[in-house]
């Protein structure tokens, strides 16, 4: 029905109806998207990756997995997933993180998503860290306790399909941080489909 190519360091948002599918394509591979959603009629109900881990019984999500809200209602079902390596711990990169790591101030995904929320008259405080589904981001939880960002394993053309289980607002920031995106940030494509799945 619609498609958009989004460059790294940019953000976008929109509406999806119950039953429609959003396909997110990693065009060149190894690219991360910080993806949030909230209920169209109630911004106080938002995507919750912690509750989704609880619901899925796993911190890894892939085909057949669900993303639920802070009220445990289903937001999305993953109907296809070429990669099955995403980060489900929540959180965003931010200007604070750039500064902390010794880089010049630079908008991160948190800053960009706060600007997306402002388009809907939502304050920055409506952005919850637990809302962020870090698509294609590769974070290891090793058994020795290590928490480490690793190179994404998504290949050029890999996609994930999210079927909306209710009417939702979504917003995304295409990450351009130097830690998460392989050899460098690249664009992603967002495609919207009517209920074909």
């Amino acid at each position: 029905m619609e498609e958009r190519v989004l460059d790294p360091g940019t953000s976008d948002s929109g509406v999806i109806k119950h039953g429609q599918t959003l396909r997110i394509i990693d065009i060149e591979g190894q690219q991360v998207a910080d993806f949030i959603a909230w209920r169209i009629d109630d911004p106080s109900e938002y995507q919750d990756v912690f509750n989704s881990n609880f619901a899925n019984g796993s911190w890894k999500i892939g085909s057949g997995g669900v993303l639920v809200s802070n009220h445990m209602n289903k937001f999305w079902t993953i109907t296809e997933d070429d990669c099955e390596e995403h980060y489900m711990g929540g959180g965003f990169c931010s200007s604070d993180l750039y500064t902390y790591e010794g880089n010049p101030p630079h908008d991160g995904c948190r800053d960009r998503l706060q600007k997306e929320l402002a388009k809907y008259d939502l304050t920055p405080l409506h952005l919850r860290e637990v809302s962020c589904f870090n698509i294609f981001m590769h974070v290891a939880y090793d058994s020795d306790g290590t928490w480490e960002i690793r190179r994404p394993i998504s290949k050029a053309g890999d996609h994930i399909d999210l079927r909306a289980e209710m009417d939702l607002h979504w917003a995304v920031s295409i990450c351009d941080d130097p830690w998460s995106n392989g050899d460098g940030p690249t664009p992603m494509r967002f495609e919207f489909y009517d209920a074909i799945h």
Partner: protein, 205 residues
């Protein structure tokens, strides 16, 4: 061996399914004691009086490079400012992924309508005059909670390893308001029986 911090300035027992809060000044230490063992605290931290700056479990995982926090680790805020240092820790076993149990989770998984830790924390926010919508799941440090992870993706609740009297000491690195819900989820997450926790405030300047 216990670290001798002297005589506490304040001490309070909080029962399961109850909330509590306190103020702590930079340099003071909060000791959280598992009185009977195997009890979890959903422990939220904000900058004193300012719920817009909160403990950020994800940024702390980032900055310490581990999801298993231990003695000497500095826990930081959403602005990456130091909030606490773990100065003593009898178990080194906590859940650092954020999040709470809730009435929603109880209705879905336990088929009962009781409140959960998120609801209790929101009540405490209201009592303190803060907007309960500002509660951030990422700010919850699940003290003494066992979550089993495997690198392959397993994520499930386990039994706490704390024994009666085990504690964690947190030294405040800024002036802090802390808010807690002593978890009453009935399954093994609290060793099958929720029990009280004790919170002791020490001057450790």
């Amino acid at each position: 061996m216990s670290t001798d911090l002297g005589k506490p300035l304040e001490s309070k027992i909080i029962q399961p399914n109850h909330g509590g809060s306190g103020e702590i000044k930079q340099g003071q230490t909060l000791r959280i004691i598992d009185v009977e063992g195997q009890q979890v605290a959903d422990f939220v931290t904000i900058k004193s009086g300012d719920p817009t700056e909160f403990l950020d479990c994800v940024y702390t995982n980032w900055s310490v490079g581990r999801y298993k926090w231990r003695e000497g680790d500095v826990l930081c805020s959403n602005h990456l400012n130091p909030m606490w240092t773990i100065t003593d820790d009898k178990t080194g076993n906590h859940y650092t992924g954020g999040g709470f149990c809730s009435n929603d989770a109880r209705r879905l998984y336990l088929d009962n309508d009781e409140k959960g830790c998120r609801d209790t924390v929101k009540e405490v926010y209201r009592e303190l005059g803060f907007d309960p919508n500002l509660v951030q799941s990422v700010s919850c440090f699940n003290v003494f909670m066992t979550v089993n992870y495997t690198p392959e993706g397993e994520w499930n609740l386990g039994e706490p390893i704390t024994r009666a009297g085990d504690y964690i000491d947190l030294r405040a690195e800024m002036d802090i308001t802390w808010i807690v819900s002593v978890c009453a989820w009935p399954e093994i997450v609290n060793g099958d029986k929720p029990t009280p926790l004790r919170f002791e405030l020490y001057d450790t300047h």
